[in-house]
Symmetry: C2
Subunit: 376 residues, 2 copies
């Protein structure tokens, strides 16, 4: 077994990894615990789709030791009461470390900042997705941009020209902004141009936008292809890969958004794909290992200001071949858009804060082993 210690410095990691030759049998390699800054744990309000238990089991199975959960639960996480309800469930159930993002609503412009210590970031929805959190009012959008502490992450679900709006409001308020799940070439070009003009902007991409396009919609089916942002074109997908390689895209984030197969196949299918258990297998071999660690560990940790996880690593067999099968997964949703895909590279074990938390398909960390990355 080849040991590669988790390191924060991309350069140092590159040096460690440069001894490996791609394509050859590499044995089992050790990587830092993966961090997913964008998951949906569905608690409260949607625990038939996922909860803090099943969702963090899926995370460990995918090699993630920390997940940051989005606030579009039912009710949404926009006040201290609902926030405490979700955090109490996480405290009891989570098997990997976690944080939550607060939702920016029209009604909590004044109160949001008082909850900043309890959460990782503030999430603003400029466009429509699952849940009631879309915020159309300019005064509220700008109010949140102005009041949310500058040193705390502010994340936006913004598509197309809404990204331009978010960048402008962040610029006028002298604050950084993180753009979730960039999915289109034009969006990436906008972010690159803004960054070149000095904008404090980071962004993420979801695996499904790197591996699926609108051409896959027919084979996925009319409900199962629904996701926000929508699957895009092949040209968009190619631009995302280039952006990931060139460093314009900072993070890989699964946007793990479980809905049951029955919901996806029913009337009014909700948008969203599960992603925690397939992301690493998809990315291994497509990125250099140093690139992979940067976008799945180092950059998310830095951008979201996360604490180090001591004695935490994952072991990956980069040569293990497997076939994606929803029935073998830990997520409660029971389906995956990557069903039947042959992947090479799989998580063998996860060690979280000195404890073996996952090994060969089995979650070993007990419910409650996960810790909040913020004050609890």
């Amino acid at each position: 077994m080849l040991f590669i210690e988790p390191v924060e410095s991309r350069k140092a990691l590159f040096f460690c990894l440069s001894v490996l030759s791609r394509g050859a049998c590499m044995g089992v390699i050790r990587l830092p615990g993966l961090i997913d800054p964008h998951v949906h744990m569905r608690e409260p309000g949607g625990t038939h789709k996922e909860d803090w238990d099943s969702g963090t089991c899926a995370a460990l199975a995918g090699g993630y030791t920390c997940v940051l959960a989005m606030p579009n639960t039912l009710p949404p996480l926009t006040d201290s009461r609902t926030l405490e309800r979700s955090l109490a469930a996480a405290r009891r159930k989570a098997r990997c470390d976690y944080g939550v993002h607060l939702g920016a609503g029209a009604g909590n412009v004044q109160a949001a900042a008082s909850l900043a210590e309890r959460v990782v970031g503030l999430k603003m929805y400029l466009d429509q997705t699952f849940g009631p959190l879309q915020l159309g009012d300019l005064a509220a959008l700008n109010g949140h941009m102005a009041r949310w502490p500058r040193q705390r992450p502010l994340l936006v679900h913004a598509e197309g020209s809404s990204i331009a709006a978010a960048l402008q409001l962040a610029w006028l308020n002298h604050r950084p902004v993180h753009v979730c799940h960039v999915s289109r070439k034009a969006e990436l070009e906008l972010i690159r141009a803004a960054r070149e003009r000095g904008a404090l902007v980071t962004c993420e991409v979801a695996p499904h936008h790197l591996f699926l396009t609108e051409d896959d919609a027919p084979s996925l089916g009319p409900g199962r292809c629904e996701v926000r942002p929508r699957l895009a074109t092949g040209a968009d997908r190619d631009a995302l890969w280039a952006g990931l390689k060139s460093g314009v895209i900072d993070c890989l984030a699964t946007d793990h958004a479980p809905h049951t197969a029955a919901e996806k196949d029913g009337e009014n299918p909700p948008p969203g794909f599960p992603g925690l258990e397939t992301a690493l297998g998809l990315m291994l071999g497509r990125l250099e290992l140093d690139e992979l660690v940067a976008v799945m560990h180092t950059n998310p940790s830095r951008i979201f200001g996360l604490p180090q996880q001591p004695e935490t690593w994952i072991e990956v067999d980069p040569d293990a071949c497997w076939v994606v099968t929803a029935g073998q997964m830990h997520s409660r949703c029971g389906w995956t858009p990557f069903e039947g895909r042959r992947l090479t590279g799989r998580v063998r074990s996860v060690t979280l804060r000195g404890r073996l938390a996952f090994r060969d398909g089995e979650v070993l960390a007990p419910a409650g082993w996960g810790q909040n990355v913020r004050s609890d």
Copy 2:
């Protein structure tokens, strides 16, 4: 009669006007010909609502010697053929000077710039209004921002956060942008903040947003109150007045958008108000004369790069009381949201390029007297 020569310098005009004491009988005063940068002439495709003849008669009756027409005709003015069709009608029918704005469509990103010499500005619709010109695609929006000549005006119909998007795209493309019909306090604050950070942004307000609010909707009726941007709150209206006084708002633009009374009272009432014949009467007495000339003549002329109109002026009786009556108007639409309002101050005559074009309610300029402000 007191003569006040048209002057370009606001300071000089202020000096001329400072001898007048407001409220006292001022006799007939002479002002520069008014310029409306935002009207809808409905030709081609909607001449039962208005055409270049009836619309420019309404303009002269309102004291306007130059109007700039929007491209959301049917078909829209997005190609040389439709543009030529509208300009040919204008050449034959217009009784005051005119220009047209080209429409930014998804299909003319490449071709628009080649038509720049024939038009005044390029109009981009970021939000929904009357007609098919809404442009949602970020790549197309940014393409127009990048390609339209920097020295030519680029106008946006953008509401709320779409204004932020337009400002960002203009900033990234190092170009000025003009925001049409600002209607909300938050929009104005955004524009002020961007300007303070160096953004090259100008904007206009429509009289109906200065004089009507959502509280007037019931008395107007469900169809007749429809306008885009919608009527706003009293707080918004107050902010617009403050913005007009402080100079954050550069222009008064009527957004004269005639639809017949039958259309407004029918199924699916189209949004829009007529405005050319009531604007001056509404504004007289509410702005100082130097402020009025700035926002209704000098600033529009400068922002839209219009040629001087030699030997052109209007004579206004600031003490004339009258009651707004649609039946006495020249617009073909046959109604006004200001019906029955008592106004003080009325146009007595309009002289356009040395010819008496309007006097005491009667249009004297023949059809075809109007000239295109661009190469014809």
